[in-house]
Assembly symmetry: C2
Homo-oligomer: 431 residues x 2
């Protein structure tokens, strides 16, 4: 009976989930794959910490290089978090010819180029299905099932924490901080939720998806990223009146013979669109390929078990890679469209909310600035002011370059009739 | 430059779509895979037929054995339809060590055991992503991404024609024949729609999914299959009043240490469930795994392009298989639960519509029969009769074995107060 040695680097929620799933479904995996996986070493930073799932004491080490140096270990599963230490682990492990599996989106988004160059040179396969959208097999689908397609667009709700917060704000009229507190109390948000709510967790995932789809590693400085921290219940409500729902949306788009567009930001999406009904901690990804048309994936995007499921899938492939060589080590550059479009030239329609003096002539001044910038207005909502002095003014703007829209809004902000900071949000029609 | 010879067996809608997609995205495939695919021979039954996409005349043959006997052909893509001829082709091609790709669900559902035994013995890989749910990568996901999961259930809307017909009946109050006519005029139904509307097309797909999920080839005589031919606008309307939508639903379910349940039939599903909003020709599959939880796939289930996209994905894998050996030839028996539960013992809740005399005592007689059969009634609708003599009576029945429910309904049908044939439909709560 064949048995494959595994080293687990990291024993947090996901690491412990993988360990447990491997025990629980060992017989199933053996029957389906003809191999047994044996966890031979577990590296963790704080062995003394109380855990819901305990690791056998004899396997524990605090030094991940014990995994790299153990000749009986063929596959290392990296679930440590952070980027510096995992990058060092990857460098050593690739040099030692260990097959690698990771759920670390920040690592790949920031160091994908180096990692896959090393992997290719050393002929060491790397698997990372768990890095994007937990239990959803999106990496495999992009890379294998849809390999015959040009990807026209990929839209995703890729961060469960943000989606939970926005869902609760929408359902219950909470403000951001209340909804975040609730998410934390349910374990759907970390004590430090920064990367989740500022858009960067989703952005790391979008970078991986776009890099796979277009065959070159995107640089994170090239993409537009915004978070949900400043979304107010007011904007959620206006959006609803206009027939939209606000979601933290990752958008990847290409036009033939043009640069690709990649962004992550809160966006108004039509209530009738399928992504508008993706609620709570769920993730969804909508792919448009030139041959397959539209295809949607929906599932749990994070958490112990969905992520562990993807790691098991990767382990199954890694087990094959132990026996048989592979054509690719996990990322094959093909570079059909090797550039990202500058943020300011990406075209979008917009939602603009202003707090303005409630007097005649205000709309004219604003429309004037937009008109000079060649930005059309598709609709205006101006609710009856509650006092006689100030009111909200909501404008829906036609397609315009992001740079031109921002510039016009900066000018509008300087008008004496405009109070406070204008709110400018993208509107996505998936056209 | 590496070039791989392909033989296309069948040049109908899908075959022509594959041929076209291979030309159109040849450069993309070359960049991503490092190989070029070259169609070297095309077998078709009627070369003289006018076609939207023409095949180069020098490639055409009417004899598929020309593909099998051509040593420059490594991969044969079978898109002929039917089962007898494709089975003969498979036998010859496997003997000749050609890698096979097929979209033929009937072939695999009926001859899967033989085909994969031959393939395994000859070490010839077979790919069939396009056989189930067109562009949705469900075969790959079940077999690879979710390989670490016990599958608790798989529910699918797997036949686009039926779903289109039911959607139109629901939206526009058409009857079955009107909706079928519309589907045919749009090209969503074949001239002979029998297999689509009688449930067997979906059943073939369900057999493939269940066989993969549980590791043994199911016998089609063991599963319950019903079609949508007898669904009336009346039942769609009563279902709506009760909060349900009628869909042709494939249901696969397993309970640990029990036999598996497999059925295809029209079923009432709650309007709020995600599958209730899968409309038109779209397909969707909802998987519940013990580790991954729920995961949903949604996309076009048939048609030239989505199916061609899956064939291209299979070609990419086949190209790898040309270079590197594989652990499995496409189906690995693992046989965790090797039996299908008898239809009559499968438990379900039900919708029962009767046309009855409109007089006191009728409900008591019916309730009496159900009570003796230990079948609970959860609700009753009896609309005011339009004339004084006859009315509809709709009963929602609690969980009961299918056999007991059918038996009770047969008895009810013999009551003198019951007119016409009772309508008994499954109700699926996805619990």
């Amino acid at each position: 009976m064949e048995s494959i040695g595994i080293g687990l680097a990291g024993f947090g929620t996901v690491g412990a989930g993988v360990f447990q799933a491997l025990q629980r479904n060992a017989e199933l995996l053996y029957r389906r794959l003809g191999v047994r996986f044996e966890v031979r070493r577990i590296a963790m930073r704080h062995p003394a910490k109380k855990r819901a799932i305990a690791a056998p004491e004899k396997l524990i080490t605090t030094d991940w290089s014990d995994l790299v140096n153990d000749p009986s270990i063929r596959i290392i599963v990296e679930l440590m978090g952070g980027t510096e230490e995992p990058l060092n682990l990857f460098r050593s492990a690739i040099a030692a010819k260990k097959i690698l599996i990771t759920a670390n989106k920040a690592l790949l988004a920031n160091h994908g180029i180096e990692i896959f160059q090393l992997a290719e040179a050393a002929n060491v396969p790397i698997f990372y299905e768990a890095a994007v959208a937990g239990g959803i097999p999106i990496i495999k689908s992009l890379r294998e099932a849809f390999v015959g397609n040009h990807f026209e667009s990929i839209h995703g709700i890729l961060n469960g924490t943000s989606n939970y917060i926005l869902t609760r704000m929408t359902e219950s009229n909470m403000d951001f901080h209340q909804a975040l507190g609730e998410a934390q109390s349910h374990g759907f948000a970390e004590a430090d939720p920064t990367l989740d709510v500022n858009g960067w967790d989703a952005a790391h995932k979008a970078i991986i998806l776009a890099s796979l789809a277009y065959g070159f590693w995107l640089n994170s400085v090239d993409i537009q990223v915004g978070g949900i921290e400043n979304i107010s219940p007011l904007d959620i409500q206006f959006a609803r009146e206009l027939g939209y729902t606000i979601k933290l949306l990752a958008s990847i788009r290409s036009h033939l013979d043009e640069k690709i567009e990649v962004s992550v930001h809160p966006a108004l999406i039509p209530q009738a669109h399928v992504l508008a009904s993706v609620n709570g901690v769920f993730n969804a990804i909508l792919i448009r390929g030139d041959i397959v048309g539209e295809s949607l994936f929906y599932g749990r995007g994070a958490g112990q078990d969905p992520t562990a499921s993807s790691v098991l899938g990767d382990l199954a492939e890694a087990a094959q890679a132990v026996a048989f060589p592979r054509a690719s080590c996990g990322f094959k550059p093909h570079n059909l469209r090797g550039q990202v479009k500058e943020a300011h030239s990406c075209v979008s329609s917009f939602y603009l909310r202003l707090d303005v003096d409630d007097r005649p002539g205000v709309l004219a001044q604003i429309a004037n600035i937009l008109g000079r910038a060649q930005i059309g207005i598709s609709s205006v909502i101006q609710p009856e002011g509650k006092d006689t002095h100030q009111t909200h003014l909501v404008l829906m703007l036609h397609n315009a370059p992001t740079g031109a829209a921002s510039e016009a809004v900066s000018q509008i902000a300087t008008l004496s009739c405009v109070k406070g900071k204008p709110v400018l949000l993208h509107v996505e029609h998936f056209a």
